[in-house]
Symmetry: D2
Subunit: 392 residues, 4 copies
């Protein structure tokens, strides 16, 4: 019996801790949406962007669909059509509203979505408080929280894009982010060798970070910090955006088709930020550049982008300001197995036509990032908080 | 002095009456927007559609731009960028926000637009109360009111389309329109001859209704009422949407590209209305059909669409339920002269690639329609309240 | 006998004459194709354009499909799939190869198409020589010949476009067309009144020119000749292509989207012609302008385009150099009835979204044009030999 | 002197051998074009496809531009505009004709291009015969020959696509390829380890195959032969093209957008081949599948695609029938350096958005393939002779 108690206690403690984590993560989402009006929360400015209120509802749908409905006896579904409206891309759980039409929904209103969140939060808290959660369900709740944290950053990426489309240049909030002074760049040398990358152990990680596996890394050097706006201005001044020899073929076609001549959100010597239009800070890391631009910059600088293996085995300074493009395509690790069930669609099915970014950004929720974390975007995407670190 | 008084009095009466008209028209717009949430008022569901709040602001911009700013001493502009945001298509008065991006604007908020309306209404009322308005300005105010009435119908057309895109099938208001019982169709014979059409006299009319002019009309018959949903169901049942010989070439290409098999808003035996999904009333006039469909139906019925001349010279029954497509292209009348100044862009520059509709619909504000009124839309447009009357 | 003979003789004479006409028209097509290589005859430079060899085959298909196969006993079809390949747009006679893919066909070769023409010509000549053709079939042969004449001009329009896409600026033939010296423009006054337009009588005309009918024409003036290149240069010099107030709304959108700043084929002070690049002759009529440009030019000149009724009732000088845009939409005449059978698709189904052109061009085969002839193209089309005559 | 002679002799021998290789490779291109008419050689059926005559000219342009013009004194350029017309994608050597417009060129004719080839071949033969070619130029000639061999396969890929667009199903040649009987599939086991891949040594290889470098390979099994048509039929029968869980997200979107339900060129139980329509041979390797389909098939089979490292270190059977998709994105090898000069654009600038294929196909010229050869295509491409080999 005495032995039984320790076995139960951690279970209880774990459940207690989980409900607290749940409340904290869910509250953080609401605090991010708080400065935004109903009109702000409704707009979808391009197919890649989702409305704020959709993020608030979709993260809620995750808990309702994967936990409450199948596993919480007596749970009462909030609305029969929300499963259709707020499924993002899970083919396995049924039909869904087309992504490019998320901005066509004035209803449910922002207030109804707040009510949906409260409804699900009440049910989740009661269910988590009841304790004795089997390990698989516990893990699914944790996955739901990490999922919501991802959407917290997406919410900021997306609302920044929405507000940037408005000629009035409205601010999300008025306090510009204060950035640490930038250190001079130096080269961090690494001997390489047969090393291991990827996640192992009991802590949470997404399926795409696993399994931990051997990789042979050639000796390399990597910059001690990301490229700054000042350095990017030198690239522009040296006709970086006008010299085809610096660009991959698809990249050059994109530069010409889109008329790129600076990072996204740069305009007339200023840059649009969540605090509205601001001067370009030459000491801050450059942000909102695509893989295409990152690659061209590196070539211009006589360098290249690091592979994700190099990035992971190096002890890096200056991480956390911007996501850092790597030269690695987003592909499965040797021995990769998608998570079982519908959540297996979470990461695996995007493993083509994307490049890996490592690190995290100022918009990443605290505690969400890991050295093994694999973020990914298509090579032309610029609305993520994405920057560049060079290697050679 | 006695002579002066009568000269002054009508002027005063006219001004008094005008300010009352102004208040009435402006209040009607607000009453149409009243059932709509901030989210509802923000969405643009296709490039042809404008958000409700844009309609509210644009009609206000008309008075501010063409009357208060040039003619009302001491008027204080509400916001320096609203001229850019709420110009619809007047090239002469400067740059404007692109039409397809009207749905990207969360700011100004619905509440700010309400304040804009109050600001302009206060200034307009004071200015109109001051009396002694020269005739040209009086006419411009009247034009602004008719302009706002047009937007009242557009507001309803547009919000119907917005709400129809929502899988929740939300209603604008809950009371379905009651329609008068439909009379059996009979043919109204007309001898034709050398007749006159177009507007003459002192009452208001748009420039495109003028000048009144002679036109030779061949003898014809015209139906005593518009085509009904029941008749349209017979057209569908007879494979009307699947027989190319019934359709113009461009029309058939559109039917195939768009997959048309029924009027817009018909779905699974029901139709989406401003009161939500409703059964299809076989006795009601068919609505939301394009010129292409109207023309094909007429051919199927062994008839044709009337010309606008025929329509105007016939004494017609059953007008007012739906706009009625005519076979006439929207072109200038002989001797047409656009109104002077920027408002000359109002009608004249659209005189290509459109067909004329005559009459009015249930959504047309009372008092807005006239027998000489020329409404117009491109031949593939279906979101207007447009129906069909046949001739032979 | 004596009475029978006159009744037979004209029939015989008519048949004799018809076979001669047939041979002449068919030979003219071949002479137009003669300067073109197999490669030249294969290319489709835009969806509106058809390859030369397609024109040669399609005009042959007309005779095979509408005459030989149904009416000539013992006729042996040349190739079972040519019906599919060379049907242009006749829904009634079965499926067809998609128009935008006409340039994907290397087979049948140019030589096989020549053989196809010979095969059909032999059969047609024998059949026509046999005499005693019923009137309806005689008329269908005549229609086929006028159809082929239309394609003779299309062949020239199309090969001009094909060759213009080649950076080598190849010439179709080396002899530039000599143009008559241009007379000074004067205004021809016309009193208007209740007049008749349209075709009547026994001579050939297309169904769309009929019936002859009354139309009321207001007094007007019309220019004595088309607008010249020199006058068009003045329009350009006066910023004609940069002033939105001169353009219809759809026209201005097209000017901006397409970057128009001169007629089609003008390039760096020269113009591409069937004789290769040539200097712009200021005295020649402007050619290859769209309805949009014609309308804008007329507005700039303080004039307007004539209606097709005005055009037809005026005795006109200077006709025959370029097709002349009218302000009239291409719509059915009062009492219009399409020809019976599949050839009823010839004209009627295009009566929307087009404007009427009158007259003829240097590329129109001799004898093909008539004062009642209604040519038509969409308002943005520029590859026809289309010019402008103004009215007021 | 005696020592000098051996030093010279190999040089001469090498030159002699080179001119023979030159003649052989050039003659092979002509033999591939021989069955094609001028019309066949002119058509471009999609932007990825080039006309046969363009391939013949472009490969000639390579020798003229990179060798004769800069290095052969007294060489007389064949045509001043061919540099513009037949540059494929080399930004460094000047402007070029847009790729999607290669099918708009009827001139130069097929015969002129034959003359161009003869002109360059005569000059090249004389220049090569003169001997004493410096090593860098010798290597450039060799590169030009390998380049031409690549275009020999492209020519076949492209003409197959061109002919497949013709409803007449024309054959390139009448003799279907005889395929060796397919052996039963077995699994080849490999222990993996720290191995080397990539090219080293003096033999020719493209820059993208270099440098040879270490890579850690996990133990794996790889199929002893490619997947057959019979196996693919089982995939189809098991609803392989209708089950989203088998497909990557981008792949599934493509399947739906393109309506894929079988490999390219399969139609109604047959397949289009260079010998025309043929029955589907269940024992032949499946061909004309995209990376998306290869990946989905592998998942359905409970396997995966091999990495290019695995492919290269395995001793493989059954290579040479079809190119084999690997799971590896086409990226630079560690230490990759593009070739110097304009030819550095040959491979390096395509290193994004593509996947590597290994092996060779029946259409690859004899002697062109190597175990280290890296072919690459975008993941949706299907017109290459591409098949699938699975691994696990």
């Amino acid at each position: 019996m005495a032995t039984a108690r320790p076995a139960v206690m951690p279970e209880t403690r774990r459940a207690t801790k989980l409900v607290e984590q749940y409340r904290a993560v869910r509250a953080h989402t609401e605090s991010l949406a708080a400065p935004l009006s109903p009109e702000d929360q409704t707009i979808q400015s391009m197919p890649d962007v989702s409305p704020t209120k959709w993020h608030r509802a979709h993260t809620t749908w995750f808990f309702e669909t994967f936990l409450l409905q199948p596993h919480c006896a007596g749970y009462h579904q909030f609305h029969p059509q929300f499963g259709y409206l707020f499924n993002s891309y899970y083919e396995t759980v049924g039909a869904r509203h087309p992504r490019p039409q998320r901005g066509l929904l004035s209803r449910p209103s922002v207030e109804e979505i707040a009510a949906y969140r409260r409804h699900v939060d009440t049910a989740m808290a009661a269910w988590l408080d009841a304790g004795d959660l089997p390990s698989a369900l516990h893990d699914l709740v944790v996955l739901g929280l990490h999922h919501e944290q991802q959407h917290q950053e997406l919410l900021l990426m997306d609302i920044k894009h929405v507000l940037s489309c408005n000629p009035l240049d409205p601010a999300y909030d008025r306090a510009p982010v204060e950035l640490a002074p930038v250190i001079p760049q130096r080269w961090i040398e690494h001997d390489g060798g047969l090393l291991e990358i990827g996640h192992a152990g009991d802590e949470f990680a997404f399926d795409n970070e696993q399994p931990r596996h051997a990789v042979y890394v050639h000796p390399f050097s990597i910059a001690s910090r990301p490229v700054t706006n000042g350095e990017w201005l030198a690239f522009i001044a040296d006709d970086g955006y006008r010299r085809p020899e610096l660009w991959l073929s698809d990249a050059w076609a994109t530069v010409q088709a889109e008329g790129w001549d600076a990072p996204l959100y740069w305009e007339a010597g200023q840059m649009f930020t969540l605090a509205g239009m601001q001067p370009i800070d030459e000491h801050a890391p450059v942000c909102h550049v695509s893989y295409y631009e990152a690659d061209a910059y590196a070539r211009w600088a006589g360098a290249r982008l690091p592979t994700e293996g190099e990035w992971e085995v190096a002890a890096l300074d200056g991480v956390g300001a911007v996501w850092e493009w790597t030269g690695s395509a987003y592909l499965p690790y040797p021995g990769f197995r998608p998570a079982a069930g519908a959540v297996g669609e979470y990461n695996g099915k995007f493993m083509v036509n994307q490049h890996v970014l490592r690190g995290s950004s100022r918009a990443t929720p605290p505690g969400h990032a890991r050295p093994t974390y694999r973020n990914f975007f298509p090579p032309a995407a610029r609305w993520a908080f994405s920057g560049v670190r060079i290697a050679q």
